[in-house]
Each structure stands twice: as structure tokens, then as C-alpha cells.
Amino acid sequence: MATTTASLTLTSTDLFDDSLSISNTSTLHKAGTTIGLDQTTGLTKTYVTATQQFDPFPVVKGATNADENGRVYIANLSEEITEYIIVSIGDLVVGRLYAGDFLWMPWSPKLQHVNDIEITPSVATGMWIEFMAIHNFANIYPNSADS
């Protein structure tokens, strides 16, 4: 097992009349246990030059991770404010990450294709993005495309 911690702070002094300050820290455990997640795809930084959708973490056919619980980080490192990536899971759009935006979410990939996370860049002129999964899944490929 490994010990991995994640923390998030949300702050604003002018969103409300009073200041906003939220702070959270959690340790990443395997589903239903206090045993640390022990695998990672590693932090991948890549320069994408096409608007073609791709899978950062393809789920291999036959993989059964529905009861598992990993964590996914995806960031758009672009500095051009109009550039974004669309993050989808299966056929549903999670949302857009504009320049500088990131997401952090749980992921229980049940089936190949159905639960795959997909990234679609908005431009083909080149964007830096980075992504990472921390998990204990059986059979996901880092950084390769599925069909």
C-alpha cells in the first residue's frame, strides 16, 4: 500500500459579502477499506495537436473495476483563454476545462467504452494538457488509444 493525500482549498474574498474559505484533505484508499491506493499511471504531460477525441486511460475489455474507486486528475495547461478540452465519460460530457482549469474526481470504470474517460481538444494548433489516475484497477492502459 501507499499513502497518498489530496487536498483542496476553495477561496474567494469577493464572491459573497463574506469571504469563502473551504479546505479539505483526504487520504486515497481502496474502495471500502483504509488501505491506500497503490497504482498510478504517473503524471502525463502531453502536447496535443489534433481535435480528435482520445482516451487518457483506456479500459481494457473484460476489466472489472466497477467496485473499485480510483481518482482522476486532468488539467488544461494552455495559457490561451479561449482554448478548452471537453472531458467526457462514455457518451456523456462532464464539461469543459478552459485554460488553467483542472478536475479531480472519483472513477469506477465498469466497462470498456462505456466508462472510458475521453478528452477532446478544441484546437489543433497545439495545447499542453496533463492527466493522471491513482487507482488499484486491473487492466487499464496508460496513454494508449482504444478502438
Partner: protein
């Protein structure tokens, strides 16, 4: 406009042979601009006492705090399971609340993952009219308290 910052830090000394240390800060802006998001649901806190799935945000529907712009936006949603249990969780999904689970048909819903006690997430909120609901279902009928907050344009 407002200035809203979110900072994520992930660290481990032993997830790999060289450890991991990641920090990233984003300032929440409106889509394609440098103008900050200016609306929020406020931090909503709710105690759930059934395993019934509920809508945290219903797509394309007026909320008491306003109606988030759908589809072409840079909205964000933060969700936390405030409990401390390592075995009880909430499942978080997206899609059509009335749709079937995991069907690849564009009118279904898909479970993203689980938040056990103390766990949280922050993702963009898309809000497409037919499949943009954010859904939560507790794993237990014992009291589960969740918090969520939508930042939107």
C-alpha cells in the same frame, strides 16, 4: 465578477519510487474569458437518510440560486461526503435522472465513482439539457451528510 481560486495538492512519498508532489491552482473564469465566475449556489448541506438517488443539480432547470448557463460554459461543481466511514459512500453520476444506467445511448446516466467518508471532488459542470443532471445516491440509509457548491456563469 469575482475571483475564486481552487488549489489542488496531491502528494505521496511511496506511490512510486520517486514519490509524487503535484500542486495546481485555477482561477475560475467564464468560458473563454479572463472574467471571473460571479454566481454560486452557496455551500449546500443536506442529510440523506435513504439510498434514493437525488439530483444535486437538475439540468436546464431554474434553481433558487439561478439557472446556470448550459453546455458552453466553465461552470464548476464541488461535492463532498462529510462522513467518516470507510465503507459507506455516495455514488456520483451524471446524466438523465430518469434514464437507464450505463447505456451508451445518449439518454442514460453514468456513474463516475464513489465518495467515501471525507472524500470530495471538483469537476466542470456542463449541464446539457437532456443528460446534465448531477446525481448522488448513498450506499446506506443511515444518515449521510453531503455538501456541494456550484460555481457558474
Amino acid at each position: 465578477m469575482a475571483t475564486i481560486n481552487a488549489t489542488l495538492s496531491v502528494s505521496s512519498g511511496d506511490i512510486s519510487s520517486n514519490g509524487l508532489s503535484l500542486t495546481n491552482t485555477m482561477t475560475m473564469t467564464k468560458a473563454g474569458t479572463a472574467t471571473g465566475l460571479e454566481f454560486s449556489s452557496g455551500l449546500i448541506r443536506r442529510k440523506l437518510t435513504a439510498t434514493t438517488e437525488i439530483d444535486l443539480v437538475a439540468a436546464n432547470t431554474a434553481q433558487v440560486y439561478g439557472t446556470p448557463t448550459a453546455t458552453t460554459n466553465a461552470n464548476k461543481i464541488y461535492i463532498k461526503n462529510t462522513g467518516s466511514s470507510s465503507t459507506d459512500y455516495i455514488s456520483v453520476g451524471l446524466g438523465d435522472a430518469t434514464g437507464a444506467e450505463e447505456l451508451d445511448d445518449g439518454t442514460s446516466k453514468i456513474t463516475l465513482g464513489k465518495l467515501y467518508g471525507g472524500e470530495w471532488m471538483i469537476i466542470p459542470y456542463h449541464g446539457a439539457s437532456n443528460v446534465g443532471d448531477v446525481l448522488v445516491a448513498p450506499s446506506t440509509a443511515e444518515a449521510t451528510t453531503i455538501e456541494w457548491m456550484l460555481f457558474f456563469e
